[in-house]
């Protein structure tokens, strides 16, 4: 039997909420699938659309951007800019024909370890049936 497809997800986690939430999931030993590679950024507001495109181009099967809940941003309003900017990115990617599951955004606070681990479970579950992301992937 062929090995089951294991999606590779790049997760941009803001330092203050989502990465702290992921740390809490760790401290609480909440197991989740190892398909996510976290990249810590200072704020979800610093995630440029280029990062998302680049991850897809370098073969990520899924991309997650996670920040603080609205009103909780360590930098007061970075997540509001992220929300607007990445809403457009999501619409654009889907319009071109990328599966909506492949680019996702979430709010995970520093106290939401449970939410983070559940989120990764769900993402992996949603991405598995889609198979590898080849549409945007650089193949040379």
């Amino acid at each position: 039997m062929a090995a089951e497809f294991e999606p590779r997800i790049v997760a941009f986690l803001c330092k203050w909420c989502s990465s702290a939430g992921a740390d809490l999931a760790g401290v609480s030993r909440m197991e989740y699938p190892p398909n996510v590679i976290p990249i810590q950024v200072m704020c979800s507001g610093s995630v440029s659309p280029l990062y998302v495109f680049s991850a897809l181009s370098h073969g990520a099967d899924g991309v997650l951007v996670s920040g603080c809940h609205p009103g909780d941003c360590h930098y007061i309003k970075g997540n509001y800019y992220a929300r607007r900017r990445l809403a457009l990115v999501k619409k654009l990617l889907e319009y071109i024909g990328l599966e909506p599951q492949r680019f996702q955004m979430s709010w995970v606070s520093a106290t939401e370890g449970v939410k983070f681990s559940q989120l990764i479970y769900d993402l992996v579950k949603e991405l598995k049936p889609l198979g590898p992301q080849t549409k945007f992937r650089r193949n040379y």
């Binding site: 659309p49 280029l50 181009s57 457009l88 193949n139």
Partner: protein, 343 residues
């Protein structure tokens, strides 16, 4: 009706008073009916100017050259440049003002109303004429075009040969100008997003196969970028190094500078380039349609920009190019911006 004589008169006035440095309008190519941008420097040259349905070029783009020239020259002539602009073109001036690329007194604007028509799409015209060669293409009365073929005059209903962008134009009248020619005639705008609705309705894979075919054709000639009034960056991120070179930067590091997009026209790179372009034009594109017009391989680029225009309007209530004082789309937010897509 826009009076060509009046246009010439205004340009002559601006030039002879020394108010403008030079004037950019339209002139016929040779003795034919097609037009090209005309740079008028002397008052006596105004007779070269024309105003016809083939004046589709957005001349605002030439302000980039002027800005670069000014930056280069030691003692630049800082008088405004005169431009003939249509409704859509005028909105791109507003975006340049919004982004502080130019100042209001850098440009002297003669606005022309598109009234009940607009500019034509040459392919549509040729199809309509079914192989016949037009000798002249002119504005008719009451929303028609007058085409002279075999010395005969044919009247064509505007919508039959109008450029797609004109069919979806939100305002056919200049929103900023020093002088306005022609009347402001409200036209029923119809569905501003007609062209994209078919693609939005497609199944995901259908959409992907459509766009894959489009992007596969791209030559990466960057004509879309060169013609775009918004693409004024000295170095486009699509081929920039995106890298801070400091005193500490070694030759080694410089050598391995990262590009977001590789130069070779592979599908993945073409997609990346067009994604960057679309997202960077979100909230900035005024739908002058020039990118699509100049594309040598006929990639329907307007469909990308129009989609972003629609989302900006529907998600954020944002209209491009009407108010030079509003903050840019992605440099502002509302507390209740939609977030149903966020987990």
């Amino acid at each position: 009706m826009v009076s060509l004589d009046q246009l010439k008169e205004e340009v002559k006035k601006a030039l002879s008073s020394g108010k403008v440095k030079y004037f950019i309008g339209y002139e016929n190519i040779g003795s034919g009916w097609q037009v090209r941008p005309a740079f008028i420097r002397q008052p006596e040259d105004v007779d070269r100017l024309v105003w016809t349905p083939a004046c589709f070029h957005n001349l605002v783009r030439f302000l980039h050259d002027e800005k670069r020239r000014r930056a280069r020259e030691k003692n630049p002539d800082i008088r405004p440049v005169g431009l003939v602009v249509k409704g859509c073109d005028s909105r791109s001036i507003n975006v340049l003002l919004q982004e502080k690329y130019i100042e209001r007194n850098d440009v002297y604007i003669i606005g022309v109303s598109c009234e009940l028509t607009g500019v034509i799409n040459i392919t549509k015209l040729n199809q309509h004429l079914n192989g016949l060669k037009p000798q002249k293409v002119l504005f008719g009365s009451k929303g028609t075009f007058k085409v002279i073929v075999d010395d005969r005059e044919i009247e064509i209903e505007a919508p039959d040969i109008l450029a797609d962008r004109c069919l979806e134009c939100p305002a056919n009248f200049p929103v900023i100008a020093d002088v306005i020619l022609g009347e402001e005639i409200k036209r029923n705008p119809g569905n501003r997003y007609q062209s994209i609705s078919a693609y939005e309705k497609m199944a995901l894979d259908e959409r992907w196969s459509f766009w894959q075919q489009q992007f596969s054709r791209c030559l990466r000639c960057y004509a879309c970028r060169s013609v775009c009034p918004m693409c004024y960056c000295d170095e486009c991120v699509a081929d920039s190094i995106a890298y801070a070179v400091t005193a500490e930067t070694t030759a080694d590091e410089k050598a391995q500078k990262t590009r977001w997009v590789e130069r070779n026209p592979e599908l993945s790179e073409n997609i990346f380039y067009h994604l960057v372009r679309a997202i960077h034009l979100a909230g900035r594109c005024v739908d002058c349609g020039e990118c699509e017009r100049v594309c040598p391989v006929e990639i329907p680029l307007r469909l990308l920009n129009k989609k972003m225009e629609k989302e900006a309007k529907e998600l954020f209530g944002y209209e491009v190019g009407f108010d030079p004082a509003q903050p840019p789309l992605i440099a502002c937010f509302r507390d209740n911006d939609p977030q149903d897509f966020i987990r």
